[in-house]
């Protein structure tokens, strides 16, 4: 009896939830439909899924230990035992590429984990309070944006000393202005809307308005933007590793692998070629997905498609 009652309650709740959120649900359904309809986005999604699987299950998928040296089997060409060959220390390149997915995703996630909150915090503050707070934050953002990203990341990376952690910090320091600007823009446009004014009239505190009314809208906009940036983050990190300002050996970092493999370009082409291809593929996947998500979330383009 009790269980039946609970079931009924649950069903009722689900139905009512569905009714209350009908617009969101249809929106979601439509989004899924749009993603399905766009083959390129599906490809992007697939690439990213593969990357994630590689990153999580690397120890089970990779045929060899990515850092174990086999000095008697250096620079072996691709074969059945080593599908993508071995590098200058006899390490299996395929295994290193598989583990490298984890490194690449870690960079993306940590950079965004620093930048999204930082950008939102600064952007919200600038947009909501305006005045000199806005002025100071946005001018600092302007200054940071006046550097080409790779150059600034190189400078910061050099100053902090080359390591994976510092690469992430350096890239994060170059990207926050983008998010701060976006969050500020959103805040400014939301601030003027009537419901915020109503809240304010009711005496709701600034903090509550920021956290419960403005923040959620900002977050979704910033996440869309973040998907567009993911590919770029991987590319900049790879560039820094390539120049010797990033990850340290024996980390299976793709950029580092291309960099050390450079000397083997002619005679052992597989050493630099496959890791480079992995970078291309990963960035390509993120860009496809980012493009797709942007198209879908852009109301104008969304209309245009139908």
């Amino acid at each position: 009896m009790v269980s039946n009652l609970a079931k009924e309650n649950l069903q009722n709740w689900i139905v009512s939830w569905g009714k209350r959120h009908s617009s969101e649900i249809s929106d979601f359904k439509e989004t899924v439909y749009l993603i399905k309809k766009s083959p390129l986005t599906m490809v992007g999604l697939a690439v990213i899924l593969i990357l994630i699987i590689m990153a999580i299950f690397a120890p089970y998928i990779a045929p060899y230990d990515p850092v174990a040296m086999h000095l008697d089997n250096r620079l072996a060409p691709p074969s059945k035992a080593h599908l993508l060959g071995t590098d200058e220390l006899g390490r299996d390149i395929l295994s290193r590429i598989i583990y490298g997915a984890g490194v690449a995703l870690k960079i993306v996630l940590i950079v965004l984990a620093i930048d999204l909150p930082l950008g939102i915090l600064l952007g919200l503050a600038a947009g909501y309070f305006g005045g000199w707070i806005d002025e100071i934050i946005m001018r600092i953002a302007d200054i940071f944006m006046a550097f080409p990203r790779l150059i600034l990341a190189m400078a910061i990376g050099t100053a902090l000393g080359p390591s994976l952690r510092n690469t992430m910090i350096a890239i994060a320091l170059t990207m926050w202005p983008v998010y701060a600007r976006l969050a500020r823009g959103e805040t400014l446009s939301i601030k003027e809307r009537t419901f915020i004014e109503a809240e304010r009239a009711l005496g709701t505190s600034n903090f509550r308005i920021l956290v419960f009314n403005i923040l959620p809208i900002c977050v979704s906009t910033l996440i869309v933007r973040a998907t567009l940036d993911m590919g770029n983050i991987i590319r900049i990190a790879a560039g820094m590793s390539f120049l010797g300002l990033g990850a340290q050996p024996p980390t299976p970092d793709w950029g580092l692998m291309v960099s050390t493999g450079r000397n083997f370009l002619i005679n052992q082409w597989w050493v630099p070629t496959f890791p480079g291809f992995a970078i291309l593929l990963a960035v390509f996947g993120f860009n496809l997905l980012g493009d797709g998500i942007r198209d879908i979330s852009d109301p104008y383009l969304r209309r245009g498609r139908q």
Partner: protein, 522 residues
């Protein structure tokens, strides 16, 4: 519309024709040799300032030194701009040869030689210590007639002094030119950075940084007449690009090939390889002051844990195995290995020293040794020493190193002259680890003072008898290996790729090549 299309096609065809003409290339009968080299280390081509292998290699052929090594040798001295010399007590007297001229026609006399040596002392640039270590001052260098007399503070071993005199820093510059371009008392140093007026077989014509250096024959050279009219060194930083360009025929000499590229050169028609062990070595060092490496047992354990054969394998072989600071081919070389690879022994020693579970430590290596660093890290971890590998730019490393701030380090060292003293001083001489030390070199940088070693190094520099001197060095090397803070990983070998038309390209252990002897077929 139609007309413009035709013009477009025409101009495209012209472009193509030009491109083909350029890539084909038709040149005058003049003999030109092109060398591909990473020229970025070259800071200056003033003999008083240049201190890199590449720069010295060039300067040996632009400026004349008092004496030099016989082609291909690093021990037998032959006359340079001085035709003879004489030692007496703490003096040396060089007799300058007659009739030698600078590339601009001015005569080379004893005054010019003395001026050049005084200039080195006065400018006090990095390589000046090669001369000043003998207590030489501006006043102790004198030109007397056609002779140059140098007075030292003590009677040093003649072979040591002469070895030092073969270094490019003693190159003779034209005093007139140097004084003409004197800017704020720099004795022409700014001018001579990128210009030359020497009396060597070649003269520097132009230097576009990061692009190329152009040398032409010095018509006034007193020695063997060079066969090649122009030598061009182009900047090709990567060994893989050098190999590509050697095979593609853009360059005749590829200066820094990696050993893994040698088989490819060997099987390619029309090119060949040349390799020569150098008086340069790669070493591993431990801090002698900070625990746990202040403990001699721990140091022995670490040394036993490293398999140098694996390191050599990892870099592709082609280098020379070496266990001591005196490189193979140099006087007083000791071929024994006191602390060989033995991981079991390493674990025992660690336990005995009170670290049965190992410890954690940071190994700092420059970017060009990242492979070696990776291998050593993995071997240290096999005996339980958790190693954080830090690969940084060489300049950053030197900065921390000079402040005695590294735990474990790996770097390279090149002897400045072909005498054991050149390496004994840096590797073993350190009386105190404080700022008062006289020689703040490798032992000091690793904060390791050993008075016994220091005494032996000082003593050996003055022993005139060759056998007795050798005995001291041999004993020093044994003790140094077992108790010291260093382990030598290998002796470096230079590997060149050459086009078949290049012949008689001679190299000695100090990376010296007489350009005037190189032959070039059409």
């Amino acid at each position: 519309m139609l007309k413009s299309k035709r013009t477009l096609i025409l101009s495209l065809m012209m472009t193509l024709a030009f491109v083909l003409a350029i890539s084909g290339g038709v040149y005058a009968a003049e003999k030109v040799m092109v060398i591909g080299m990473n020229t970025s280390p070259i800071v200056s081509l003033d003999p008083a300032k240049a201190y890199e292998f590449e720069g010295s290699w060039i300067l040996d052929n632009v400026y004349d030194k008092l004496v030099r090594f016989k082609p291909g040798s690093a021990s037998e001295i032959e006359p340079g701009i001085a035709e003879s010399w004489e030692f007496s007590g703490n003096n040396i007297t060089f007799t300058i040869r007659d009739g030698a001229k600078f590339s601009n026609g001015d005569p080379v006399d004893a005054e010019a030689v003395a001026y050049s040596l005084k200039r080195v002392v006065k400018l006090a640039q990095a390589p000046s210590w090669v001369i000043t270590q003998f207590g030489v001052t501006e006043d102790s260098i004198k030109a007397i007639g056609n002779k140059v007399q140098i007075i030292m503070d003590k009677a040093y071993s003649p072979s040591l002094v002469l070895s030092c005199m073969t270094y490019s820093v003693t190159g003779t510059v034209n005093p007139k030119v140097a004084e003409e371009h004197n800017v704020e008392g720099d004795m022409g140093m700014a001018y001579l950075t990128e210009n030359s007026v020497g009396s060597g077989p070649y003269k520097l014509v132009s230097w576009e940084r990061n692009q190329k250096l152009l040398f032409e024959v010095n018509e006034n050279y007193w020695g063997t007449k060079p066969e090649i009219d122009k030598i061009i060194i182009i900047d090709v930083p990567e060994s893989s690009s050098q190999l590509l360009q050697l095979k593609g025929g853009t360059i005749d000499v590829a200066w820094n090939l990696e050993h893994d590229q040698i088989p490819d050169v060997e099987k390619t028609k029309g090119v060949y390889t040349l390799s020569k062990p150098q008086f340069k070595l790669i070493y591993f060092g431990m801090n002698g002051q900070t625990p746990p490496t202040d403990n001699v047992l721990v140091r022995r354990a670490v040394k036993s844990a490293i398999d140098v054969e694996a390191v050599i394998k990892a870099v592709g072989g082609g280098v020379t195995e070496l266990h001591t600071f005196i490189p193979k081919g140099m006087f007083a070389y000791y071929d024994g290995e006191e602390v060989p690879y033995n991981p079991e022994k390493a674990k025992e020693l660690l336990a005995e020293a009170g670290y049965p579970n190992g410890f954690e430590i940071t190994l700092t290596v420059p970017d060009f040794l990242s492979t070696e660093g990776t291998v050593v890290k993995s071997y240290l971890e096999q005996v339980g020493i958790k190693t954080n590998l830090e690969v940084i730019a060489y300049t950053t490393l030197l900065g921390k190193y000079r402040e005695q701030g590294l735990e474990l380090v790996m770097a390279r060292w090149g002897a400045d002259y072909a005498d054991p003293d050149a390496n004994a001083k840096p590797f073993a001489h350190c009386r105190t680890t404080s700022d008062e030390a006289t020689i703040k070199q490798l032992a000091w940088r690793n904060a390791y003072a050993n008075p016994e070693f220091t005494d032996m190094v000082e003593k050996a520099a003055f022993i005139q008898d060759r056998d007795e001197r050798e005995k001291v060095y041999l004993e020093l090397q044994k003790k140094w290996q077992s108790d010291g803070i260093f382990k030598i990983l290998y002796q470096m070998t230079i590997q060149l790729g050459l086009n078949d038309r290049v012949g008689n390209f001679i190299l000695n252990e100090l990376t010296q090549t007489p350009w005037e002897l190189i032959t070039l077929k059409d």
